[in-house]
């Protein structure tokens, strides 16, 4: 399922944040949304997830405007992991099971199928070891993984992740990016990911969209991003390396 932004403009109390944002997230891809702090990345995600509805332009999920969708319909199409995560006093298994809420009737309980989906999401993220731990006792990285498992349990074709690799150590960061790349290719899931680590984005993302001054400064593949000199012009960074062996970023002074 593809996601399309058409001339999206939004702001807060007459202060414009997004001015004219247009780009497409292709089906089954991992698309990185990047930009300097305050560029409007989180605002764009809030518009997409339905949290912010006072925007102009169109945001289409498989051709259908997200604002006009019923809440129940949207929850079957789009899952989202926000930047700031709470620490509820529930176990990891219980937290991940919350991802099945859209499939459970008001008076219903988790079916065997739901429980299997929860177990599958926990295994996919590799958090079986602390499935019975309380969420408010987890480390920052474990917390991110537990919530990511919850979004996977929601089993939607589109997943939106706001800084999912923050608080993860280097090994887990790479494992996580490999996991979502694999899910994109094998299951056809579409990932829109806000990240800051440019070398990792260049290595793992299928496409990159750069937000600058409320507009899309660049949209294309990682190779096109390097060819057009986006890291230098937008982030004052010099990139060395290759996709096979990885990249490194050096400040371009």
């Amino acid at each position: 399922m593809k996601v399309t932004f058409e001339h999206v403009a939004a702001g807060y109390r007459k202060k414009p944040v997004l001015r004219d944002v247009s780009f497409t997230v292709p089906e089954g891809s991992v698309t990185a949304l990047i930009g300097r702090n305050g560029a409007g990345k989180s605002t764009l995600l809030r518009c997409l997830t339905g949290e912010k509805t006072d925007y102009q332009g169109k945001i289409l999920l498989d051709g259908k405007e997200v604002r006009s969708m019923e809440l129940a319909e949207r929850t079957h199409m789009l899952a989202s992991l926000p930047q700031m995560l709470p620490r509820p006093h529930v176990t990891v298994w219980e937290l991940v099971s919350f991802g099945r809420t859209p499939y459970i009737p008001l008076t219903g309980t988790l079916s065997d199928k739901d429980q299997a989906a929860v177990d599958r999401a926990i295994s996919a993220v590799g958090i079986e070891a602390f499935r019975d731990s309380f969420v408010d006792t987890l480390s920052g990285g474990e917390l991110k993984k537990a919530f990511f498992a919850m979004t996977l349990a929601q089993d939607t074709p589109v997943v939106v992740l706001d800084e999912p690799t923050a608080h993860l150590d280097a090994y887990n960061r790479f494992s996580f990016l490999e996991l979502i790349t694999r899910m994109g290719k094998q299951l056809g899931k579409t990932f829109l990911v806000v990240m800051h680590e440019l070398p990792e984005i260049l290595r793992y993302a299928d496409r990159i969209a750069v937000l600058q001054d409320g507009q899309v400064a660049f949209e294309g593949t990682p190779e096109e991003c390097l060819e057009t000199g986006v890291p230098e012009s937008c982030f004052q960074l010099c990139i060395t390396g290759s996709r096979e062996h990885g990249y490194a970023a050096i400040p371009n002074k």
């Binding site: 997830t49 809440l71 989202s80 926000p82 529930v90 219980e94 919350f98 809420t101 859209p102 008001l106």
Partner: protein, 332 residues
């Protein structure tokens, strides 16, 4: 693995049910007059309707026990709903103005019609519920977040507490009755008084069980709950109104029975090892009923034939528990 956990949860519920039944039986047997097992059974079955023990059971102890069960269950479910709705483990019915609203309305009722005892109960419930509605409406105008609810609760409660103080100054006679009301207890309660509160508490319990799966998601915050298909603000408001109705119903016959709504959800979390509202509600209801039954029993036997209101016993247990809770806040 999860099925084993579910099985142990049901065993726990059965165990608590048996223990609550045992506490209720002790409540029927002991008091200023100790009844034997055969007297209790004969009295319950009304084998000799004119006997003293039949009268003790049906006029005094059965209403007492029923009131304790209802008070404990009503306050416990209110506590679970509240702590979950505002995501604050230190929340109790007072934060949504139940105590201040019920207290003010009850004192006002005493000032207007001092002899109308039934009116005071109705006023207490109506005051508690109206106060919560006022807090929810105020907070909703200011965004409807958890913080605005708590702040609106503080402001409205302060206003009504000032109102109570003013009425007590203007009508000194009501101060003594208010002091009994503020301690909380079930002395002198009759079946007639319990009918309406029982209906309200049972209705709240049924609604809470139905909504429990959705209530769970409030702990994730409004935006995440929304992405999972739950209208968080609406569910929070419904949750607060249910909590208020239940606590208000208890206040109408038992006064301001302290600490039950605060303590019991914590005990339930510890015992179940879970924060799942679907498990917390049945366990809290049974624990709450058991605690109030035992507090009432202790109050009746410790200084028999005098009675200490159950509210004093629950406060004596609750206050130290509250300190421990504050000191161990990070681990709860």
């Amino acid at each position: 693995m999860n099925k084993n956990k579910n099985r142990s949860f049901w065993w726990l519920t059965v165990l608590l049910l048996v223990l609550t039944g045992a506490a209720a039986f002790l409540g029927l047997r002991y008091g200023s007059a100790k009844l034997s097992l055969s007297e209790v059974l004969a009295g319950l079955l009304r084998l000799d309707p004119q006997s003293v023990y039949t009268k003790i059971l049906w006029v005094v102890r059965l209403p007492h026990v029923a009131a304790c069960v209802l008070a404990g269950a009503g306050l416990a479910v209110s506590g679970v709903l509240l702590q979950n709705a505002v995501n604050n483990p230190l929340a109790g019915p007072n934060i949504i103005g139940v105590n201040a609203g019920a207290g003010f309305a009850m004192v006002l009722g005493l000032c207007i019609a001092p002899m109308a005892y039934g009116l005071q109960s109705v006023m207490a419930f109506a005051g508690a519920f109206a106060c919560t509605v006022l807090i929810v409406l105020t907070a909703n105008r200011a965004g409807g977040s958890k913080v605005t609810i708590v702040l609106a609760g503080v402001a409205v409660s302060a206003l009504l507490s000032a109102g109570i103080s003013l009425l007590k100054l203007l009508y000194p006679d009501v101060a003594i009755i208010y002091s009994y009301f503020s301690v909380g207890g079930v002395s002198g309660v009759t079946f007639q008084q319990l009918k309406l509160p029982a209906g309200i508490i049972l209705a709240v319990l049924a609604a809470s069980v139905v909504l429990a799966g959705r209530l769970n998601l409030l702990c994730l915050g409004d935006s995440m709950a929304q992405t999972l298909g739950v209208r968080a603000k609406l569910v929070r408001i419904v949750s607060l109104l249910l909590a208020s109705a239940s606590a208000g119903a208890v206040v109408s016959f038992a006064g301001l029975l302290g600490f039950v709504g605060l303590m019991i959800p914590h005990m339930a979390r510890k015992i179940t090892g879970s924060g799942d509202v679907r498990k917390l509600i049945p366990v809290s209801v049974l624990l709450g009923a058991m605690l109030v039954l035992l507090a009432d029993l202790l109050g009746r036997v410790l200084f028999a034939p005098s009675e200490i209101p159950a509210g004093i016993i629950t406060a004596l247990i609750g206050a130290p528990f509250f300190f421990v809770l504050l000191l161990r806040r990070n681990r709860l």
